[in-house]
């Protein structure tokens, strides 16, 4: 069993950590004690035995590479500091909440009945009545069936332009809205009249397959619509 306190003192002596006065005292003890000398020799041998091999030298270009990396890191950190991640948590929380609210609002509006949307659209209703800006799809999806029938005059549901008691009735998306010319439209010029005349003609109906263009070509060719495509094709 070794004396721990004595070992510690010997180690401090070996490592040069013992105060000068204690060094003198220890040397005096060592001179008188062969056992202490032997123990010191063992510790010295163990300590000296811990010899490191030569460290691996730094590879060529290590310092420039490190400097380059550091510069990149600095730029990255500086950029990040200006970016979103540098924003205070409460700002990020507010933004996230606004995003969620926006999405929820969008989904909610998307699920609302069309009629309710139209009725709730004062902005749309406030558009001057000269042009027809009813349903968004009518404005963006090109000529509607109504347009093809009425010879270029758009006849869209009038809820958007002139709200009336009847128009405030909510309509579902599946509601079929009959084409009813408004009173203001009846006072329109002759093209409206001709359109109504066309509508009255049995050969031209909304549900029929004959379009104005077909009528026109049939008239040119002097053939009836019953000739089928074969005759027409032969004419071409």
């Amino acid at each position: 069993m070794r004396d721990r306190a004595a070992d510690r003192r010997l180690m401090r002596y070996l490592h040069g950590e013992l105060p000068a006065e204690q060094v003198r005292q220890l040397r005096a003890e060592l001179a008188k004690s062969p056992a202490l000398q032997a123990r010191l020799a063992e510790l010295h041998r163990l300590w000296q035995g811990l010899q490191p091999s030569a460290p691996t030298p730094a590879p060529f270009g290590y310092v420039p590479k490190l400097t380059r990396l550091a510069e990149q890191k600095r730029v990255t950190v500086a950029t990040r500091a200006l970016g979103w991640s540098a924003a205070p948590p409460w700002v990020r929380a507010m933004a996230a909440a606004a995003l969620v609210a926006g999405v929820a609002l969008g989904v909610g509006l998307g699920r609302m009945p069309h009629g309710a949307q139209a009725g709730a659209g004062p902005v749309v209703a406030a558009v001057p009545g000269g042009s027809q800006v009813g349903a968004p799809e009518a404005a963006s999806a090109g000529p509607s069936p109504a347009a093809s029938v009425s010879g270029g005059v758009e006849v869209t549901p009038s809820a958007a332009t002139t709200p009336s008691v009847a128009d405030t009735t909510p309509k579902t998306a599946g509601d079929a809205v009959p084409m009813q010319p408004r009173e203001s439209d009846t006072a329109a010029p002759a093209d409206i009249d001709s359109a109504e005349a066309m509508l009255a003609d049995e050969s031209v109906s909304m549900s029929g397959s004959t379009t104005l263009a077909e009528e026109y070509w049939q008239a040119l060719e002097g053939t009836g619509s019953d000739d089928g495509g074969g005759g027409g094709d032969a004419g071409w």
Binding site: G49, L50, S53, L66, T67, A70
Partner: protein, 202 residues
């Protein structure tokens, strides 16, 4: 025997000229950073290699250390030598690495797979006269190497700094941020562990 931080460990005036380099690094001076790396990278590579047991890991560690230094240079205040501060950053980084993985190799001493092929003990003058004793000494040395690899990181750090970097107890205490008593205690326990390994029967 536990000693508190000696009076000498109190912050010293910044007399190290490298602090000026650090201050320039804090302002984004690329040249200053290059100079700082040039001055200190060899020593840090050496200590990291001895702590981590692998030259490539040591290069990665030193790279991380200098990047930390660059990013945090502005927040450090001169207290002692820059080299001590860098040692501290490096050793702490290595200790974190070591805590994540239990190291089984010891770099500064050759890898130990077989006692026959291991690095020879440093002093075999007496044993060389007798082949049997020489073989026994080699086995004993191999056990010491394995014991070093098995030391807890905190003890290994003290051993590396004391034996291989030849730092004083005071410098080790500054570097690791521990007391002189803790330095002595860890070193003593490390040496006892190595001695037990050396004496252990096959």
């Amino acid at each position: 025997m536990t000693a508190d931080l000696a009076p000498g460990l109190a912050p010293e005036p910044a007399t190290d000229p490298d602090w000026e380099l650090v201050a320039r690094v804090a302002t984004g001076d690329r040249e200053a950073f290059g100079e700082l790396v040039e001055h200190h990278h060899r020593r840090l590579l050496r200590v990291c290699e001895r702590l981590l047991g692998d030259a490539e890991d040591a290069r990665d560690a030193v790279q991380e250390v200098f990047l930390k230094v660059m990013l945090k240079a502005g927040s450090f205040r001169p207290k002692a030598l820059v080299s001590t501060w860098l040692y501290r950053v490096a050793v702490n980084h290595c200790l974190n690495v070591l805590r994540r993985r239990r190291l089984r190799r010891w770099v500064s001493l050759s890898p130990v797979e077989d006692d026959e092929t291991a690095a020879p003990p440093p002093d075999l003058a007496e044993e060389r006269a007798d082949p049997h004793r020489e073989l026994e000494a080699r086995h004993r040395w191999g056990r010491v190497q394995r014991a070093i690899a098995d030391l807890p990181p905190s003890q290994r750090a003290v051993l590396v700094l004391a034996r291989f970097e030849e730092l004083s107890y005071k410098e080790i205490a500054e570097t690791l941020g521990i007391t002189l008593g803790a330095v002595e205690s860890r070193l003593f326990r490390a040496m006892r562990a190595l001695e037990r390994a050396q004496e252990a029967p096959e």
